[in-house]
Assembly symmetry: C2
Homo-oligomer: 230 residues x 2
């Protein structure tokens, strides 16, 4: 096991997480996409990419993008596990608001030891998803990323269950929470305005429900499936 354990810096862990996420859609992660996601300049990414490749965490084909190696993927998943368990713990046990746990976990994931994280996981009964619906990798680096559709691609009349929302933006999360759109919620598409117009939908709520309208952009951040099982 060439596993240097805790020797990765915060920024390095952030790059690996970003690359992992970008790679999920299939292709290699491009310099530009990484830069965009981490809000740093492409030139800086080029520099870091060289270092990550030197450390054997990624492979880099110049001008064609970057892929995680086995070791890089494992490191990314360890960080992701830390992040998501922290999010669970912060919301469920300490009651931090839904929209703030991401930011907090983003900093703590680089400082918390594996042992601490496992104790949190145990206290929570080994959660399978974080508060935004993202799956939590297991200790031994497995995740099953469910196949979900973005709400933005739903057709009129469909009845869907919200499974996951993108968690980067606190304001967006706060707004979605206000609308009742969170993992587990059931929605029905009432109407789709053409040309990327707003989606009108019914959101089931305990003791009633409500009609809501959201824009294409926001809907693209919400992932659903047809499942009615909890």
């Amino acid at each position: 096991m060439a596993r240097p354990a805790l020797s990765l810096t915060g920024p390095v862990e952030d790059y690996l997480k970003a690359i992992y996420d970008l790679e999920r859609v299939g292709e290699a992660a491009s310099t530009n996409d990484i830069a965009l996601r981490l809000a740093i300049s492409p030139a800086s990414v080029s520099g870091m990419v060289r270092r990550l490749a030197d450390q054997g965490l990624i492979t880099h084909e110049p001008y064609r993008g970057v892929r995680l190696t086995r070791g890089g993927r494992d490191a990314a998943l360890r960080t992701l596990r830390r992040h998501r368990i922290l999010e669970c713990y912060l919301t469920e046990v300490l009651g931090l608001p839904w929209d703030r746990v991401h930011e907090e976990a983003e900093r703590m994931e680089h400082a918390a030891s594996e042992e601490l994280i496992e104790r949190m996981a145990a206290a929570l009964g080994d959660p399978k998803q974080d508060p935004h619906g993202a799956p939590i990798p297991t200790r031994d680096g497995r995740v099953e990323e469910a196949t979900l559709r973005p709400l933005s691609e739903a057709r009129q009349g469909e009845r869907l269950r919200v499974r996951r929302v993108q968690d980067e933006n606190a304001e967006r999360l706060r707004y979605l929470a206000e609308l009742g759109i969170r993992p587990g919620a059931v929605v029905r598409i009432l109407d789709r305005a053409p040309f990327d117009g707003p989606i009108t939908l019914w959101v089931d709520e305990p003791g009633g429900g409500a009609t809501r309208a959201i824009g294409e952009g926001l809907a693209a951040q919400v992932y659903v499936d047809a499942g009615t099982s909890d």
Copy 2:
């Protein structure tokens, strides 16, 4: 309020904590002492001292040492509060072993938000001391450092209560725990060998007690008072 809030780096917070602690004994903190405590070279301390002084966190009289300004002291106490509440939480709620919480808190204190810390404090019922007996500064930057004597200066026959132990060294803590020497424990000095020899003492324990012997060096890390009140 010239309170730049969260803008201090981890190393800066560590320097301020170290200086705070060194200043507690009275005199200004010397470059060498800071270097020793942080395990970095005196030259590096000289460099950082300039930066801290530039930021108005300390005053520096060249060749005579360093003192915290009001702002520096406040920042040190905020970090100390974070550190000690984390230590409490990690032991009491998450069950991390006594000798490992210091190290863990040392990293987390730079990442945890004030809000998170206050939630932990609330969950614990606003603790007044950390697991090693150190007082926890209040939100508004007050601490009362009790006047304690090192166990190394106790005289034969005295009956004393352990109030605090230095927490930097995990092995030392583990050993003290084995001996039953922890905050709250009651001890009686049975014998003091001359020339800095070992101290023989009786340690009260639930359902009995035990005779123990510890060296001068270790005894200097244990602080006691005469109090019998809990």
